[in-house]
Each structure stands twice: as C-alpha cells, then as structure tokens.
C-alpha cells in the first residue's frame, strides 16, 4: 500500500504514456489497422491509473499530507523544485479525474465510432488526464502555471479536433486566446508573488500569508493578477465566451471539460486562498465576479436553444459559485462543490450526448417526446439534475448548503444569490429535460432508439456513483453535521429548487403557454440568447483595439521603418543614376575636371601662404 502511495506520481505518467503510445495509430502512420487500438490503449492506461489511485487513496486515508520534492532546476540562487503533495484531497482529486476520464473514454469508444481521428482524440484526452492529475499532485504555483498552460494548448488542439469545420477553428482560437490571456496575467502574479514571498510552494505560501503584512496595494494587484488565470480557466465573466464556443469540440471531450477541466482554475484558486485572503478587495472582486457569472450564466443558460451550450453556461454559473465560496474563504465548500458539480455535470453531458448521437440535432426546439423511448438517458439526466441543484439528499445540496450556511452568517445577501442561481439552474435543467424528453416527438426525434451500450454503460455507472455520492461523502465524514446546520437555509435551498423545477415544468410541460416561449420583451430574450452579445463586446473593445493598433504598427513598419531604410537605398540608386552623367564621354570635359581639381587643391595648399606672398603678386600696385 505504501508503495502505491509513494509512487502515486506514476498516475500522470500512465496517462502520458498512453498519449504517446496512441500516436502510431494516426491515419498517416499505421495505415492498415484503423484507429481503434489507440482508444483501447488509453482505456487500459487510464484504468491502471484509476486503480493505482484507488489503492493509494485507501493508503493515504487519515494520513497526514506528505511532500515529495523532485529537483528540477537550480540556477544561480534560484531553486525550482517540483514538490508533490500526497494527501487525501490530491489523491482523491486524481481518482476523480481518472475515473471521469475512464468513463469519458468508454463513452468515446461508442461516440467516436464513425470517426477516424481516434489517435489524436485519445492522445489529447490522455494529455488532459495527465495534466490535471499532475496539477492535482503538484504543490507549487509555478508548476501549476506550467500545467495550466499545457492544458490551454491541449484545449486548443482538442476543441480543434475536427478542424475542417469553420466554427471549430474560430472556437478553438477563442478558447486558446481567452485562456491564454488569463494565464499570462496569472504569470505576472506568479512572478510578482515570488519577489514578495521567495517561494512558490503552496504550503510555504500559506505559512507566509499567515504572518505577512505586505503593502495592501501591492498584494491587491498581485492577487488580482492571480485570480485572472482561474477567471479565464473557469470561464468566468468576462472571459466566458470560450466555453460556449468550445462546445464545437467532440462531445466526449466535453464531458471531461465541463466536469474537470474548468475546475483546474478553481483548484488553483482554492490553493491560493490563503494568499488571496490577504487582500479584502480581491476577495470582494472574487465574490463579484462569481456572483455576476453565476446569475448571468444561469440566465443565459435558460435562453439557449443549443443543448450543449445550455449546459456550458450552467458550468460557468457553478464555477461562479466556487468563486463565491473561495471569495468568502470557504475552501471546503468550494472543493465539495467542485466534486459534486463534476460528477453531476459529467452525467448531464453524457445523457445529452447520447441524445445528440442518434437524433443529430442539438437544437432543443427540434426535440421532444423521448421520455418513453429513452428512459435510461432521461433518468440519467434527472439524476444529474438532482445532483447538481440543491435537492436533498444528493451531492450538490450538501455543497450548496455548506456554502449558504456560512454565507448566512457573513453576507446574507449572497445566500439570496445562491438561492437564485440554484432556482435558475433548476429551471434551466428542467427546461432542457422537458424539451428533450417531454412533450410530443418532433420530426428529428420521431425515431430515436436508446444509444449503444458503450454510451449507456458509463452513463449508468456515473449515475450510480452520483446517487451514491452522499453515502460516500457521509462515510468519509465530509457531510456537514446535521445538528449544527441552519435548517432554514436548507429549507430555503430545497424550496428554491422546487420552485425552479416546478415553474419550468409547468411552463414547458404544460400547455398553458405557446411554444416556443416568448418573453414579453423580445430584446431581453435576445440579450440572454446571445449571451449579452459578448462576441460583439469583444469585437468592439479588445479585438478592435488590438486589431487597429496592429494595423497601425504594421503600417508604420511597412512605410516608415522600411521606408527609411529603403530611402537610403533609393538615394544611393538615384545618386548613382544621376552622377553617372558626370562621365560625359568628352575628353575635353575630363581635362576641365582635372584642371578644376588641380586648381582647387592648389588653392588649398597655397592658401596659408597667400598673405605671405601678397606683396610678390602685388606688382607694386
């Protein structure tokens, strides 16, 4: 057992090995056998990693956290070592990641049936697994940043898997650039933090933060930079558009992205909480960003007609709740929320993916009436919904309760916000459920068999785990103590879910309102449907400014810098071209030139003597 615990850092390496071993099945290398072995190798590797993690998790349970330090680089007096934290939380996170990836990969075996790009797809999935496991394990802000950047590149490649589609290319571009901007600002924070603390180790940072009294302005700026990275990673306002566009990528990767990848930012944020709490302004900014994203994201999710996008905005909203939790110093609630959100959202995406897989359309307005023919998917969706919103006794209820309970004491208005987000998400998810599974079958869903076992198996496994999650949490004593709980908050949370679900059910399952539902204000509906016109905001602010400045700079370079240098050449050419006429071809002219030259030289040479010989040439006049 201890052996498995000490070698826990093999887990990212298994995935990395899978990523490398996959490559030979690219269509250009092994031309005859087809791409399937790529997927099987990765499944095997992920399974090994998962098993290793499970064994190590048992070994690490109730043990104090240990640290393994791997030297990486020593230059001058800078020592960059890679510290690995082995604690129940990190190993648990790795088990969650490998488990989710295992399910997503089984799912992908079914979903990617008609696709040739398994090698690329599976190696990128494995890269993600490797990256997130390494992120969970590494105990250094610097290496967290390194991994976040690698994952940003991974997102670019994975979203851009089917690069022959134009929307995929723009989506991958936005996903890369938006996350990159956040990461770059994070890098500024990371570098500035080192000069303050002299370390990047999370434990040492936390020790430093316990006693430090840095300049408030400096620490505010540094911490604001530090939250910018997670802001982009977690698709928070205003860096949220990429997650919407990343829904162009293949669906199995969406399972991973929506549940785990966006949580990488939250993970770093949670680990940085001791530093962030040094600056009250940053904590308020975190709460503000989280609040705006949570409410905005849930409202946008309700107005979407693309089912994947409707889910992706719920992801943003829940990550906003994580931001609020971190912003009010509740790391435990944030971690619990990340866990429960990951399994619930994974389940929702899996269920929806199965529907998309054989109904082709993603348009909610073209679906309906699948309840009787797709019971497993429907139940999985319901299970995911129950586990995501505050519905006792399922997972997120406890996380939200944990969050709201503490908020009740410090900032009661945030409890109202959590309730609102919960109700809106409940409304949104029940709306998706009603539109897909309720009502009458539409043209696209008239014939819709239940999906392949490869899609249903991971879905049901995850459904089972989601339903068991409260029991798991209870067995590891992660549930809040019922006696100390604020039962008013619990009831409020429950009623907000009931309210959201009922309202949505009445609207979309009842016949009282004409479908598609129109808000009284068309402008408001469009505002949400087009996610506050974020693409236009980007285009008219940052993109416009950068585009204009680059055009101006390119113009300056082409015409002024290049022009100045070219002018030298042109002047030389013109000089040569015009001065050649001095070679007139007339020997008499040459004679004249010689004469003039001699006269001038003579005049110069004799000039000092002119006054001396003045009298000589005076002829006595």
């Amino acid at each position: 057992m201890q052996f498995f615990l000490q070698t826990i850092w093999f887990v990212p390496l298994y995935a990395l090995m899978g990523a490398v071993l996959t490559i030979p099945w690219s269509p250009g290398i092994i031309r005859r056998t087809g791409p399937r072995p790529a997927g099987y190798i990765n499944l095997l590797m992920t399974f090994i990693g998962f098993s290793h993690g499970i064994i190590a998790l048992q070994a690490t349970w109730n043990q104090p956290a240990q640290q393994i330090i791997i030297p990486w680089l020593q230059v001058a007096n800078l020592d960059i070592s890679l510290p690995l934290e082995i604690s129940p939380i990190t190993v648990g996170a790795m088990v969650l990641v490998t488990g989710m990836n295992l399910l997503a990969q089984i799912y992908a075996v079914g979903y990617m049936e008609m696709d040739w790009g398994w090698a690329r797809f599976y190696s990128l999935l494995a890269l993600f697994e490797c990256g997130i496991c390494a992120l969970a394990l590494c105990n250094s802000l610097f290496f967290s940043y390194v991994i976040l950047e690698i994952l940003t590149l991974g997102t670019y490649l994975l979203v851009g898997l089917w690069f022959s589609q134009p929307l995929v290319v723009t989506g991958a571009r936005d996903a890369f650039l938006t996350k990159r901007v956040g990461d770059l600002v994070l890098l500024m924070g990371v570098l500035a933090l080192f000069s303050l603390t002299g370390t990047w180790n999370y434990w040492e940072l936390s020790d430093w933060a316990a006693t430090a009294h840095p300049d408030p302005k400096v620490i505010t700026l540094v911490t604001l930079a530090l939250i910018a990275g997670p802001m982009g990673k977690c698709a928070q306002f205003p860096l949220h558009l990429w997650l919407d566009e990343a829904m162009e990528g293949p669906l199995p990767s969406t399972i991973l992205r929506n549940s785990v990848v966006v949580a990488t930012g939250a993970w770093v944020l949670i680990k940085l909480e001791p530093i962030l709490s040094l600056s009250p302004i940053t904590m308020s900014a975190l709460v503000l960003i989280g609040a705006v994203t949570a409410v905005g994201g849930s409202c946008i999710a309700i107005a979407q007609i693309d089912v994947k996008r409707a889910l992706s905005y719920s992801v943003s909203a829940y990550m906003g709740l994580v931001f609020i939790a971190v912003g009010t110093g509740q790391n435990d609630a944030a971690l619990l929320l990340v866990l429960t959100h990951a399994v619930a959202m994974g389940l929702l995406v899996m269920s929806v993916g199965g529907i998309i897989w054989n109904n082709i359309t993603q348009d909610l307005t073209q679906m309906g009436g699948l309840w009787s023919r797709r019971p497993i998917s429907a139940l999985a969706f319901l299970g995911g919904t129950a586990a995501l919103i505050g519905c006792p006794p399922f997972g997120s209820f406890w996380a939200l309760l944990n969050l709201a309970d503490t908020l009740w004491a410090v900032q009661p208005w945030l409890v109202g916000l959590v309730l609102l987000v919960n109700a809106l998400t409940a409304f949104s998810l029940v709306r998706i459920f009603s539109l897909i599974f309720g009502g009458k079958p539409k043209q696209m869903t008239v014939r819709s068999p239940e999906a392949l076992w490869l899609l249903v198996l991971p879905m049901t496994l995850l459904l089972g785990f989601t339903l068991h999650l409260p029991l798991v949490l209870e067995s590891v004593a992660l549930l809040p103590n019922w006696v100390n709980l604020n039962k008013d908050v619990a009831m409020l949370l429950f009623w907000s879910s009931v309210f959201g679900c009922t309202l949505s059910g009445v609207i979309y399952l009842g016949n009282a309102l004409p479908k598609p539902v129109q808000l009284p204000s068309k402008a408001l509906q469009n505002l949400f449907a087009y996610d506050f016109y974020t693409p236009d905001i980007y285009r008219f602010s940052i993109v416009f400014a950068v585009d204009r400045v680059s055009k101006i700079v390119a113009w300056v370079d082409r015409f002024i810098v290049d022009g100045a240098v070219n002018l030298v050449g042109l002047a030389s050419i013109l000089g040569g071209e015009s001065l050649k006429y001095s070679t007139s071809g007339q020997s008499q002219f040459y004679a004249l030139t010689i004469l003039i030259g001699i006269s001038i030289i003579g005049a110069f040479l004799s000039f000092p003597h002119w006054s001396a010989y003045n009298n000589v040439f005076n002829f006595g006049l």
């Binding site: 006429y581 007139s584 071809g585 008499q588 004469l595």
Partner: protein, 101 residues
Amino acid sequence: MQLEYFLLVAAALFCIGIFGLITSRNAVRVLMSIELLLNAVNLNLMAFSNYLDAQEIKGQVFTVFVLTVAAAEAAVGLAIVLTIYRNRDTVDMEQFNLLKW
C-alpha cells in the same frame, strides 16, 4: 627684367593653351593647344634656369627633353587623330562622346 614677368607670360600662355584645349572643337587645334601648354612650360623652365640656376642650367636640359617628348607626342597625337578620322570621317571633338556613362 624680372623672373616674374617671364612666369606671368608663361602662365598667360598656359591659360590660353588650357582655354584652347577645353573649348576647341577641332581635334588638331586641341593638339595645337597642348603644344602651347608645353611651350609655356618650356618658357618657365628656361626662365627658372636663367634666374635661379645660372650655373648648372638644369632647366635648359629639361627644356630639351620636353621639346623632344613634345615632338613625339604631337606625332602620336596626329596619328590618333588620323585614325579616328579614317573611321568616323570627322575630327569634331563633340562627335567623339561614345564612351560616356
């Protein structure tokens, strides 16, 4: 009589020669101007030899050499002019501007 007057006459002669050298259109007259130049030089040499070096009169020796070289040069010059005339049927200097830029 002073040295300067000889020198001035020689300089005047030289300048006249230069003027002729540069402005003449006839190639033969250019050669004649060159003869004027050489004679101006000879006048200088003779004057210097007379006034400054009356003992060894090296200037006069130089003059003899210049005269002989000038004769040879005039002969070659005329030969060149004749050759050009054979080819181009003219001795106008302004027609001889083929070797320009």
